[in-house]
């Protein structure tokens, strides 16, 4: 409740600030955006195409013990869909395991996924529309690794704030259906979106089961070939403020606009290996 004697001063301050925003170059918020519009811009943000990277995934348990997975990733856009091919490099017991995904835009069609198991010399189709499971033992779900359908969520712009000196929007997202909640494993999320480049740099996810929370944070954000890339991210699973497990995801050697052909994203290549 603001005392009435301060109102004229606040109104004057607001006008000054508003003029200031209009004058400042590169003002990213000259128009008022709704939460849905902001999230649409997050989705529409150019995340690069024909990309390769070396992904390092560090799994850290509550005692600080680490397990490390190194994965080489190829990705390519095919219209609105995304093709992705991953090969495990280390540790040795999962080396040459490959994972091929055709990530289709839209909710009508389930993604196609295949897993190559070197021990069996066999490619196995994975049927899992449910993306709430852990990605390779990490704190990231499969739903964290793919785009979510905006139409399946109700977004609310909570406020404007700052994260480490950078202006962000704080947005709440709640699944509209129980089905969506079951598929992602989350019943609510709050994300922090940078106002200058529409990158989600922080987030909290309320996990459906077990009263847990997952804290997502971008630790390093780099501009590579004109694309903002989160080169270091963490996902921390907590319960009652205690850390249960943490995953650090680092991206090295990130490159875009590589000459990747669609033939790369096939069972043929998956079985041949890197």
């Amino acid at each position: 409740m603001i005392h009435t004697c301060f109102r004229p001063r606040l109104a004057q301050l607001a006008r000054i600030l508003a003029l200031g925003f209009l004058v400042l170059p590169g003002n990213p918020w000259a128009e008022t955006l709704s939460a849905r519009e902001i999230m649409q811009r997050v989705e529409d943000r150019d995340d690069g195409d024909n990309g390769t990277q070396d992904m390092e995934m560090i799994l850290i348990d509550k005692n600080g013990n680490q397990r490390i997975r190194n994965i080489h990733v190829f990705s390519k856009d095919k219209g609105e869909d995304t093709l992705q091919l991953m090969f495990f490099i280390t540790p040795a017991d999962v080396k040459d395991t490959g994972f091929l995904t055709y990530d289709y835009d839209g909710v009508e069609k389930d993604d196609d996924q295949w897993l190559y198991l070197p021990a069996l010399k066999k490619t196995k189709r994975i049927a899992s529309s449910d993306k709430s499971g852990s990605f390779m033992g990490s704190d990231f779900n499969y739903s964290d690794m793919t785009d979510r359908e905006l139409d399946n969520y109700d977004y609310t712009l909570m406020k404007e704030t700052e994260v480490k000196g950078v202006k962000v929007w704080q947005i709440e997202g709640i699944p509209r259906t129980e089905e969506e909640s079951d598929e992602t494993g989350y019943k609510k999320s709050i994300v922090f979106v940078r106002q200058d480049n529409y990158v989600v740099i922080r987030g909290v996810n309320w996990v459906n089961k077990g009263g847990k929370l997952k804290y997502f944070e971008v630790k390093k954000l780099e501009l590579i070939d004109g694309i903002w890339v989160a080169t270091e991210m963490t996902m921390t699973t907590k319960k009652s403020k205690k850390t249960l497990h943490k995953t650090v995801l680092r991206s090295h050697n990130v490159k875009f606009n590589q000459d990747l052909v669609e033939d790369l994203f096939t069972i043929r290549r998956l079985e041949k290996g890197l």
């Binding site: 850290i60 397990r67 280390t90 049927a127 449910d130 033992g137 909290v204 050697n253 069972i267």
Partner: protein, 446 residues
């Protein structure tokens, strides 16, 4: 006032919750793989120690094939050399060697020579192949290799090209289950279709328990086995047409090959009456298989028609058989996969004499396999339950296996479990019903 207080409290809770981000990340330094890219060659492998303990027999009596106590104490080394050659060609040479000191500990004199030859030690090449593209859409792979057909991970219907290591049912590491054979394999790719042609040059059959092993079903040595030579007129042939589509796939298969299961024949002897000998019939298979993904469900199906099956009591005559398998796999529970596969094998024009010694074949044989796999502790701990049971209603025998694997650290796992053998109408399973055992494995991969 109440609403404001509630809202204020909720906001405080939310603010407190949002303080859960760690502002300072401790520096985590790791050894990154070299940025120089893959080299010309790479040597990998694993070193493992495994042990098993047979507890169900009351005592050991080698004559009766009863064993109690330490059943295996095996040290195994597997090495694999991968070579990157020009123009995206590759080569692999791999081998395996093991020594099982349980025989020495238990006293080698308590085991037959055959059992010692088969199971005490081994040193062999496994995969040795050369692979590359002859044309942009045509791949060649030549050498000792494994080709895994079929959709089921447990039941074999169209998966007929590679023999199996059956020396210790339920205990063999899945990596060692299929035995590689020398093949020439050509794959032609056109859109979603792949046409495969295979010539199998090496004649190799299942490795079964040898006379004297606790898994060998009878107390007398088997007759000699006629093993056809390699290549030439004994070459086995196979072809497949596979289509991969969104949400489903289908494949058609054909093979002309030797039956891994031998049958008894009386063959003329140079002197004296005909003598018994184990022979491998030449079979022709036509088969099909498919997958259909539906949400969290994967539907699997395989069907095969076999011609040329031979049996002792039907000397000179052969039979045909239909194998039809249906399976379901469900992955809707977090970090858990459940699968159920059922196959029915039907012999056409069945002769009731086939049910007797030495053939022991049923008109309709049903096999059911159930697998439950789940992971805990961010995939550090993995538990698997596998049950394979024959007959309806499950009266033929089979085995159940419960195992756990724990990742101590990267590339180092320890595990163990129990295998329970169930007796039943099938003589082999009835003979093995008391071979229950506990097992333990430690494995380091490099």
């Amino acid at each position: 006032m109440c609403l404001c207080a509630h809202t204020s409290r909720a906001q405080e809770e939310l603010d407190d919750l949002l303080e859960g981000f760690e502002d300072e990340l401790e520096e985590i330094i790791t050894d990154q793989p070299s940025d120089a890219g893959p080299g010309l060659w790479e040597l990998t492998g694993d070193l493992s120690v495994s042990a098993s303990y047979a507890y169900a027999h009351t005592h050991s009596d080698p004559i009766k094939r009863e064993y109690r106590g330490l059943a295996a104490l095996r040290t195994q080394l597997r090495l694999q050399l991968d070579l990157d050659l020009p123009r995206d060609w590759r080569a692999r040479v791999s081998g395996r060697g093991f020594y099982d000191s349980a025989y020495r500990i238990q006293g080698r004199r308590n085991f037959t020579d055959e059992a010692l030859d088969t199971s005490e030690d081994e040193l062999e090449f496994q995969e040795i192949w050369l692979q590359g593209s002859l044309l942009p859409q045509l791949d060649l792979k030549f050498g000792r290799q494994i080709v895994n057909w079929g959709r089921s991970e447990t039941i074999r219907v169209i998966d007929v090209l590679n023999p199996l290591d059956n020396r210790e049912p339920g205990l063999v590491d899945i990596e060692d289950l299929r035995l590689p054979v020398v093949m020439t394999k050509l794959d032609y790719y056109h859109g979603p279709w792949t046409l495969t042609g295979i010539a199998v040059h090496e004649t190799r059959f299942d490795e079964n328990p040898d006379f004297g092993s606790e898994f060998f079903p009878i107390a007398v040595p088997p007759p000699p086995e006629n093993t056809p030579g390699n290549g030439g007129s004994n070459t086995e042939w196979a072809a497949a047409l596979t289509g991969i589509f969104s949400g489903w796939d289908v494949s058609l298969h054909w093979a002309r090959f030797f039956d891994d299961t031998a049958h008894l024949e009386l063959v003329p002897a140079a002197i004296g009456p005909p003598r018994p000998q184990l022979e491998h019939a030449r079979l022709t298979m036509l088969g099909a298989s498919g997958n259909y993904a539906m949400g969290n469900w994967l539907l699997k199906a395989e069907a095969a028609y076999f011609d040329g099956l031979e049996y002792f009591v039907l000397a000179g005559d052969d039979k045909t058989r239909w194998d039809i398998m249906g399976g379901l796999e469900y992955a809707g529970f977090d970090d858990t996969t459940i699968s159920l596969d059922v196959v029915r094998r039907h012999i056409s024009g069945f002769d009731s004499r086939l049910e007797n010694d030495p053939d022991f074949v049923e008109n309709n044989r049903v096999e059911t396999a159930f697998r439950y796999t789940t992971e805990f502790m961010n995939s550090r701990l993995r538990a698997t339950y596998l049950a394979t049971i024959f007959g309806t209603p499950f009266d033929g025998g089979g085995f159940m296996r419960l195992s756990c694997d724990y990742e101590l650290r990267d590339a180092l796992t320890v595990g163990g479990g129990i295998v329970l053998y169930m007796g039943g109408d099938f003589p082999t399973f009835e003979a093995n019903r008391k071979n229950d055992r506990l097992f333990f494995t430690a494995k380091y991969s490099f």
